[in-house]
Amino acid sequence: MISISLLMLLMATASRIVAQSFSCVVSKQEVAVGERFKISYRIENMQARDFRAPDFDGFSVVGGPMQSQNMTVVNGAMSQSTEISYYLSAQRAGKITIQPASIVSGNRTVKSNSVEIDVGGTTMSNTPNTTSPSTQPTQSSNQQQTPTSRDIYISASANRQSVFEGEQVQLTIQLYSIFNSVSLEEIKYPELKGGWVQDVEDAVDTRFRQEVVNGKRINVATLRKSILIPQRSGSLIFDAVTAKVLVQRVVKTGNMWEDFFYGGQVKDERINLSSPKISFKVLPLPEDNKPLSFRNAVGKYTMQAELDKSEVEANDAISLKISIVGDGNLMLLDKPVIDFPSSFEVFDPQVSDKYKVTSTGVTGKKIFEILMVPRVGGSYSFGPVKFSFFDPKQKKYVELVSDTFHIQVKGVAATNQISSGNDVLMTGSDIRYIDDRPLAKNQSTRFFFRSLLYFLFGVIPFILILMTFVFRKVLFMRQTDWESIRTRKANKVAVMRLKKTRKLLDENKLDLYFEEINKVLLTYLSDKFRISFAEMNRDVIYDKLIQNTLSHEISIRVIQVIDASEFARFAPSSIHAGTGLYDEVENLISSIEKNVNL
């Protein structure tokens, strides 16, 4: 039996291992005689060696063992699985139990579950046209048999079945045949939904080469090699490849002569073939640490970004060339996101890509050429250009960052040329955000304007002006009244005061008498003619008297009397002189009263 001893040499350093199991799965549980089906043994998270397949009693092994390994790390937890599969075809009808397979893990033997297959009596249509299903084939003479699915079949295999979104998978479609002369009449490849498939050029080799499968020599031709890139997460199914082949084979006729010389009769047979379906488990790209500049690029890339010139006149075009080189889903790359200065008119990029699909994957480069026209002079800087991709091998994102670009734009363009309405349209899609201060002042709608206080303030100046007017008027009137009274009472006052001075004369107090009589005269003049004491001198008195229609003689006489009274004060004289002066003053006052009418 087949023993596989080097199964799980890898992954000894798994940080956490989950759910160990060893199970057997068949693609169909009810088959017809001669129909092919797949039996897979799945070893999950086990260090296994020494795989022993059961005797497939009642079945013949048409393909396999095929082995595929799978490892996934999700959030640091690693799970690994190995699948060993065979293609079997039932040889007889009835219920046949396939015994469990075994592996040795550590130092114990682990057995898988056993499977019961219900084999129906009739052959299926897609199996090669068996002329007589009831005839028991004998192992000894292969050529006598009608061709079974063990003799000729198509296999479709993928290098991995658990992939990330956007990761590349190699798909190989091969034709196995024990017959030497096979011509392919028709082949139909399925359409793939949710993925992108591109054939590898010059990988098709329809010439047979020989391989040993299951201890038998068999011819193998590679029909197609493709690169498949799943574009959405979930499960993706690659449908069966169907083909129609023409087989030429030698059939023993029973005629010894012919058999001897020609080896039998050559017979053409048309056979319909179909490959098993392949289902892929497509993992979504991790959300953790996903860069903002990530635009579904998966693979491994390098980026180069350059400007053709860094100094231009306004309205001259500049081009920014971004080239991305590497392996991965190049044809699905979007242009990197760049913030250009707002006064630049930026055109849609010109995209050119050049890539090659090889058996290891898609490789090549993609160039974005962005044309921009600065409209206003000045010095600008923008960038850096950021491009990020997911590296499925390392299972992480990588961000590539270019330098920042500096552009010197000379001259000022006419203002009407800056008519890029684009920005306005974009921002116009939503209202502006709330004012998010936590506390707002309560605004009073009771205004000071037009309030009582306001009117009061407005009226007060006018009232004050009015009041000033009135006050001054009253003051003036009062003042004039008082002076006229003084004038009117001047004579009375003078006469009364004169009588008092007479007493001083009688008592012979001459000093005081002269002083008093001088005062009486001056006071009288001040009151009568409204002359303030400060202004009083001979000239003023004389002028005032003349003004008030008094004769020159009287005026001179008044001055003389004032002088005499003053002189007498400092050089005392007789009582006789005093009496004379008294009469003189009395006469003068009465004559002024007579002549002046105020």
Binding site: G428, I431, R432, Y433, I434, D435, D436, R437, P438, L439, A440, K441, N442, Q443, S444, T445, R446, F447, F448, F449, R450, Y454, F457, G458, P461, L464, I465, T468
Partner: protein, 248 residues
């Protein structure tokens, strides 16, 4: 007694002026995208009689987000009355107007009136009022000095100063008045989806139909009916369909 009364009035004035409105819970709801809840919280504050352009502006934003455009217009208009120059209010108001079914010409001032409008909005109503008082007092002082002083040269200078102060006093008062009239303009917003306008205050002849969010002028009132004008049309409308912009 009088002094006590004065202090009381003073205190009352200031206590209402500087009371603050707690907007934090509503703003937080808005920032989390819970617009219905934010709208309810803002609405509650407004119903309590709180007055602030910030409150009205945020309320309008929440109303816009919940699709209640009539309520949004009403509150943007209220916010604009309290703060006529705020760019965000004007921007959002113009944006929400674009969503309304009735086309409406928006009054804009250009040229000299535009300049005066700009000048007017530099200060608030009360600031203009105080300014006019100040200028009036300056004018008054100049006049009084002209009257009282004896020196002739000083009198001449001061006499020129009287109109020099008096003119800005009157201008400030006029700007305040303009602002005040705009503030209490008798306008309303149509709150219901489709509202018929009748030829008389009974349900007689339908002249035209107005839709939600349209701004109209109220001319006069009669019981539950309002005489309104919209652009060059006028008619009678039931008061329940409208909400007045004037802040209560």
């Amino acid at each position: 007694m009088k002094k006590q009364l004065f202090i009381f009035v003073f205190f009352f004035y200031y206590s209402t002026t500087f009371a603050t409105i707690q907007l934090r819970p509503a703003n937080e709801a808005y920032s989390k995208g819970q617009f219905d809840e934010a709208l309810a919280l803002y609405q509650q504050l407004a119903n309590e009689g709180q007055v602030s352009w910030v409150l009205y502006y945020n309320l309008a934003n929440a109303a816009f987000k919940t699709g209640n455009y009539a309520l949004a217009v009403l509150n943007y208009e209220r916010a604009a009355r309290l703060n006529p120059t705020h760019p965000d209010i004007r921007y959002n108001l113009s944006l929400v107007r674009n969503q309304l079914p009735d086309k409406q010409t928006v009054l804009t001032y250009t040229g000299v009136t535009g300049f005066l409008f700009y000048l007017r909005n530099l200060l608030t109503i009360d600031q203009w009022a105080w300014l006019s008082i100040m200028f009036l007092f300056m004018s008054f002082v100049s006049f009084l000095l002209t009257y009282l002083l004896h020196s002739f040269t000083l009198k001449k200078i001061l006499f020129v100063l009287v109109p020099f102060w008096f003119f800005p006093a009157i201008s400030s008062a006029l700007l305040a008045q303009w602002y005040y009239v705009d503030f209490y303009k008798n306008e309303a917003i149509v709150m219901n989806t489709e509202v018929p306008v009748f030829s008389s205050p009974d349900k007689s002849v339908v002249l035209f139909v107005l839709h939600y969010g349209t701004k109209i002028n109220i001319q006069k009132e009669k019981n539950e009916w309002l005489n309104i004008s919209f652009e060059d049309k006028s008619g009678w409308i039931e008061a329940t369909h409208l909400a007045r912009i004037s802040v209560p």
